[in-house]
């Protein structure tokens, strides 16, 4: 009788305290990010149609398959169901120009998962954002294909508003920039869709508000200081996608609150330096990757003072 207190066949489980846990899990967070990327997915499909569908399928498949193969070869547990490979695949696709050949997109996915993630030991151990490693690799390897832009819907050749900004004349309206009716990578053009997902992530507390605020804030301040329109800088390139979905990647950004502020500020400065004085019109990828490299240092210098630790003698 299990109801009897004196039953001898009760098997009790020992565990160390605490014996309860929060309801959030790693897969829940990863699939939360996938959910947050759905508006952007819809926007990319709306604006770039078949091109977007093709790239998303290729990169997500490449990421999942690469992770599976890598873990199989290393004899490690298969973790493709934790959602992180899907997130990397989606983010990589969103960072690609619509006409990129499929095999290049696949290479990007493979590089993202191997050089970006698994050579370091898999989820949680990579110092750099895997999707951005994939993009940076493609940018270095296939520079021409990576900056071949087409305008949404009609598919004619165009340039991104950032290139226009770089050259000093912009044709797109704020509204076009906001909804995504501009040239660019398939997932970066619609600020509206990105904001919807970003707000969801903030609401679910899957990202920390300090990074997007400090990143976007720094860019705005620097744009104003340089006499440029901060709205264009926010909306014209990959900044919104970067600020909400990639600079906020938990694995590759500081765990301290002050560190998050510094991360965003640093990324903002690097971005504006690249956009203003660099040869590339866009610098979101490198601004985040460079700050990823600073993450351990930022964590070290922003470590909070432990409770009760004697304050330095004044």
């Amino acid at each position: 009788m299990p109801d009897s207190v004196n039953s001898t066949d009760i098997k009790l489980v020992m565990s160390p305290a605490p014996h309860v846990s929060d309801k959030d899990t790693v897969p829940k967070i990863m699939f939360g990010v996938v959910i947050a990327l759905i508006p952007t997915l819809i926007a990319s499909l709306y604006w770039f149609r078949f091109h977007a569908l093709r790239l998303v399928i290729i990169t997500v498949a490449a990421c999942i398959i690469t992770e599976w193969v890598f873990q199989k070869l290393r004899g490690k547990p298969i973790t493709i169901y934790d959602g992180s490979a899907i997130v990397t695949g989606l983010l990589l696709a969103f960072n690609l120009p619509p006409t990129l050949p499929g095999w290049m997109a696949a290479v990007g996915g493979i590089v993202a998962m191997t050089l970006g993630k698994h050579v370091f030991g898999g989820l949680g151990h990579n110092p750099f954002n895997p999707a951005l490693i994939g993009r940076a690799f493609l940018l270095a390897s296939f520079p021409a294909a990576m900056i071949r832009w087409t305008s949404p819907i009609d598919g004619t050749s165009t340039v991104t508003p950032l290139v226009q900004l770089h050259m000093g004349r912009i044709t797109a309206t704020y509204w076009d920039l906001f909804v995504g009716n501009i040239g660019g990578c398939i997932g970066e053009t619609s600020a509206l869709a990105i904001l919807l997902g970003g707000l969801y992530l903030l609401y679910k507390r899957y990202i920390d508000w300090r990074i997007p605020v400090s990143y976007l804030g720094t860019v705005a301040v620097m744009a104003l200081a340089l006499g440029q329109d901060p709205i264009y800088h926010w909306l014209a390139g990959g900044l919104m996608l970067g600020a909400f979905f990639m600079a906020t990647d938990m694995v590759t950004t500081p765990i301290t609150r002050k560190g998050k502020w510094l991360f965003g500020i640093g990324a903002g400065i690097i971005l504006m330096v690249i956009r203003q004085w660099g040869s590339y019109p866009e610098g979101v990828t490198y601004s985040i990757l460079l700050m990823n490299a600073f993450t351990p240092l930022l964590e070290r210098i922003t470590r909070p003072r432990p409770y009760g630790e004697v304050k330095a003698h004044a």
């Binding site: 009760i10 098997k11 020992m14 565990s15 929060d22 938990m250 765990i255 470590r303 409770y307 630790e309």
Partner: protein
């Protein structure tokens, strides 16, 4: 009403207090046999004062020690000593215990002498009564109360804080005590104030217990030196250091004690035990135990004699419902999981929780560096970093990063979405450092 005070960091686990928070405390009949452990407190164990075959009275001292940091134990029932033998305590250690067969007579020991009038007692007498009554911190830490009341002369105590936070989920024993017997808490508070020679006392209560706050505000109306402070409902609000910071704004040095900032903290049930020791002359032979969790038929608070087997306490609450998977003594965040039901109730036994399923996945995943442990840590540490340093054996490095400021609340492990055993790793480093220091000094 001003915003409730609190500390920085912390977590909001599901309270599950409604299972027991509205029901009156029930006195559980004394069991046929009690097992009184001779070490139920922080400090030196007691030596037995009785032997097999002795007849003992209720309230009779049956174990004591000459060490300062220790507390005597008493017979919770009258009867015959059946054995003095080793027994397992709730934390898993083997300690000596006195087993008494209850004769049911409830024959009081002549040492049980009431002191109805507080005004006639001086500080030294109160300390002596508290010491002789075997009173220890009943919030779970079981530090002997008379030691807290005897600070070294260079430490000036200015404030007494009575801890009525009860921030652990499920537990409501302090809550019910405050609602049902606030005058006992207040009397005990006044006695503790007198023993410490302080003019000011705060009773800190989380604002999820408005009835307890109201009851104590009413009971303290005539005592302007005692102030009820509503605190935010947040774990670990009842952690001594966090409570002191919330109420006084002071920060206790991490290798120091509350007395270093002029504060002594006692639990509400400790205060009530002081009242019983003075007004009834009754030593600490009973405590309130929250029996709860979905695996118990009738979750409730029971007033239980020390030494009652926990299996009988669960039976008194209607027994199991379903198949129990986990039995925890204490709260779900800091309590101890039990391998069986053989241990007796001790002075630290705030709760007995029965779960029919594990409330926490037992398989950790890789850390995704989300930083939630950092935000949750009430000691402003980097739990993930400390745990990692501990795992690779770099205890000294962990020490440099503030390891000893950890209050062992478990908030880090609770919030971890990868279900890593952060606290467990940190404890390994902490114990290792403590052992090294112990070796050096001895």
């Amino acid at each position: 009403m001003s915003k409730a005070k609190t500390f920085r960091g912390g977590i909001h686990p599901a309270g599950n207090k409604e299972l027991t928070s509205t029901q009156a405390i029930v006195a559980m009949p004394a069991p046929a046999e009690v097992t009184v452990l001779l070490k139920q407190h922080a400090g030196a164990p007691c030596r037995p004062l009785v032997k097999k075959g002795d007849v003992v009275n209720k309230g009779q001292k049956i174990g004591d020690s000459d060490e300062f940091i220790s507390a005597p134990v008493h017979a919770p029932v009258s009867g015959v000593v059946k054995a003095v033998q080793p027994s397992r305590d709730p934390a898993g250690s083997i300690v000596q215990a006195v087993v008494i067969e209850n004769d049911g007579e409830e024959r009081l020991d002549p040492s049980v002498q009431p002191h109805p009038d507080l005004d006639q007692l001086d500080a030294e007498t109160i300390k002596k009564i508290v010491r002789e009554a075997g009173i220890v911190g009943l919030g779970g830490a079981t530090f002997p109360t008379h030691v807290k009341l005897s600070p070294p002369p260079d430490k000036k105590i200015e404030v007494l804080i009575i801890n009525g936070c009860e921030c652990e989920p499920y537990l409501t024993c302090d809550h019910r005590l405050m609602v049902e017997q606030p005058e006992r808490v207040v009397f005990g508070t006044r006695a503790l104030m007198k023993a410490l020679g302080v003019e000011k006392a705060y009773i800190g209560i989380e604002n999820n217990k408005p009835d307890a706050i109201a009851a104590l505000e009413k009971a303290t109306a005539d005592y302007p030196g005692i102030e009820v402070v509503p605190l935010q409902y947040k774990y670990p609000q009842g952690s001594e250091k966090q409570l002191i910071t919330a109420i006084t704004g002071k920060e206790v040095p991490f290798n120091g004690l509350p007395m270093d900032v002029g504060v002594v903290v006692n639990n509400v049930e400790t205060a009530a035990a002081v009242q019983a020791a003075i007004q009834d002359g009754m030593p600490l032979i009973e405590r309130i135990v929250t029996v709860s969790g979905e695996g118990v038929r009738h979750p409730q608070n029971l007033a239980v004699r020390i030494g009652t087997p926990i299996s009988e306490v669960i039976a008194a609450a209607g027994g199991f419902i379903g198949t129990p998977k986990q039995v925890i003594i204490g709260g779900p965040l800091t309590g101890v999981a039990q391998p069986d039901l053989s241990v007796p109730v001790t002075k630290c036994n705030t709760g007995i929780l029965v779960f029919n399923e594990l409330k926490r996945p037992s398989k950790p995943e890789p850390c995704i560096r989300c930083g939630r442990c950092v935000d949750a840590c009430p000691s402003f540490l980097l739990p993930v970093t400390l745990a990692h340093l501990s795992d690779i054996g770099q205890y000294d490095k962990a020490l440099e990063l503030g390891l000893l400021a950890c209050v062992e609340c478990g908030s880090c492990s609770y919030v971890c979405p990868a279900h890593r055993f952060l606290l467990q790793s940190i404890l390994v480093a902490k114990r290792e450092i403590e052992a090294q220091r112990y070796k050096k000094t001895s």
